[in-house]
Symmetry: C2
Subunit: 317 residues, 2 copies
């Protein structure tokens, strides 16, 4: 299979951790009902492809995300590989109880950078959302768990326009101060552009403990990732095959596709520990189960035709 | 319609010229037969959206590109707007004769950076291709035309692996020395990554007289564009709605989509003179005529649903 040519770029990290969100953020937004055995195989394949952190599922109430109602069963089926982290999203204390019951070692909480989204998604104000997270984070830490925090709508939301970077920093610092080991700065609606990314990371005083989570709604995810890498970020969220996000069009995408990210990283000579061919194979396998083509450009080019892609043959001018 | 928020990034150009290739590079790779009146309206709409350079068609032999067999007729139909350039691709002296007959003021020639592609596409060796261009460029200049040169396969080709940057520079310099005013460095198969872009522009000694032409086959086009902008390039090729390129999958894309590029540029505070809403409207209009959705993420998000996009509504976690 074709692989990118490595040409180093000055000022980039030597190694990046791809934080794989496909089983959780990807599948929770897919319309298809995916059998739990398929999910378990999906997670197993991701670990085999070299992933060292795979967000596996969510203990959100099944009423809100029926796609992940099998969270407990899935955790029982996944054969954990030593050295691989399997974090689980936990929205509240009830979710934490379930995570503790099932031996989860790392959780993620989900905060909002904007007032309107806090009200609509969390039923809290921007300021009062922390009252919800505090007991979750405190009890998780007491039990020896690691806690990651997502901050959503970091660049804009559908109601308030651009999110002030200072507001994002304020929310993020509160979460770090609680003891979260990492913040994932999310462009939930995909509106951000590279200068905004640079400005936001700068407002935090640098990349320490920051990860980025870009959606490709406006095609900006990979360019924004490049800006984050230049700013020193070394943890990038991505979803296998670009699954999840925007079910309004078959070819539309939500999350940055892991394969497109890995093509860029390996092309830049940045180590990931991931095997691109295995990732493409897994996305092709998963696309057949989801009943729709992967929105990943790399998967489309390399994975979905029996011959391994035909893009090469159409170069006549 | 939603627009990007402008956040300037240091070290980028203040203004970029988008060299629109949709009517030529886009439509020549579309399977649909597009009536000449639709093409004329397409070009008219592009000028109305603010484009100042629109590659309109090609005087290639209709046997090779039947989609553009109506080149002469189209040029007769297009109502030229003062200040807008309407270059035409010219493969050889016969093509130049036709361009001169029809009052074309700017042409583009199409060279190869690799041996195998020169043989397969031009039926020449890498070294002997210049014998084909020399009389074309010389006669065009004698007749007061401006000549742009495409250099294709600048990052890799399907047969030889990565293209040595020194080889690209050698080909490019020959074309500049003939009198071409601009080189468009093409990643014809979309394999390049940002460090490779930086290295190639560096090998030319800087961005002077360079344009970039990225294909999005592996999702890298916009990240590569960002690298080119940082290296000082101020002319970027793009295709309305991302049309053209890879007919092997409905959602696959060849050329960088103009709308996705403009979202990034306006987000970076870079002036283009283009009206994004008009571009999206034109892509939506064209997609209906081509019978397939636009591969542009921006067009998918903003243009293809009656309500102007529904991505906003799916943000529940």
């Amino acid at each position: 299979m074709r692989e990118p040519y490595a040409v180093r770029e000055a000022g980039l990290p030597d190694r990046v951790t791809v934080y794989e969100v496909g089983p959780r953020d990807g599948l929770q937004n897919e319309k298809a009902v995916v059998p739990v055995e398929v999910k378990a195989e999906f997670v197993t394949r991701l670990a085999a492809a070299g992933h060292r952190v795979i967000e596996t599922t969510s203990f959100v109430h099944p009423k809100w995300v029926p796609q992940l109602a099998d969270a407990a069963e899935l955790l029982g089926l996944v054969e954990k590989v030593p050295g691989v982290r399997y974090p689980v999203l936990v929205p509240n204390e009830r979710g934490l109880d379930r995570a503790l019951e099932h031996g989860v070692e790392e959780i993620a909480v989900f905060a909002s950078a904007t007032e309107t989204f806090a009200r609509r998604n969390l039923n809290r104000t921007l300021a009062s959302q922390f009252e919800m997270f505090e007991p979750v984070v405190a009890r998780a830490l007491e039990n020896g768990l690691r806690v990651r925090a997502y901050v959503s709508m970091c660049f804009g939301d559908p109601w308030e326009g651009p999110t002030p970077v200072g507001q994002v920093v304020e929310v993020g610092r509160r979460l770090l101060d609680m003891g979260c080991f990492e913040l994932s700065l999310g462009d939930t609606i995909g509106v951000g552009t590279p200068g905004h990314v640079t400005a936001l990371i700068g407002a935090f005083g640098g990349p320490s403990r920051l990860a980025v989570h870009f959606h490709d709604t406006y095609g900006q995810a990979l360019a924004n990732t490049l800006a984050a890498l230049r700013a020193g970020v070394t943890v990038v969220d991505a979803s296998t095959g670009g699954i999840g996000g925007c079910p309004y069009a078959d070819s539309a995408t939500g999350n940055l596709a892991t394969e497109d990210l890995v093509w860029m990283l390996h092309g830049l000579g940045v180590e990931t520990g991931l095997d691109l061919a295995s990732l493409v194979e897994t996305s092709t396998w998963l696309a057949a189960r989801l009943g729709r083509p992967s929105p990943s450009r790399v998967v489309q080019a390399l994975g979905e035709t029996p011959t391994g892609g035909t893009a090469d043959h159409d170069v006549k001018e």
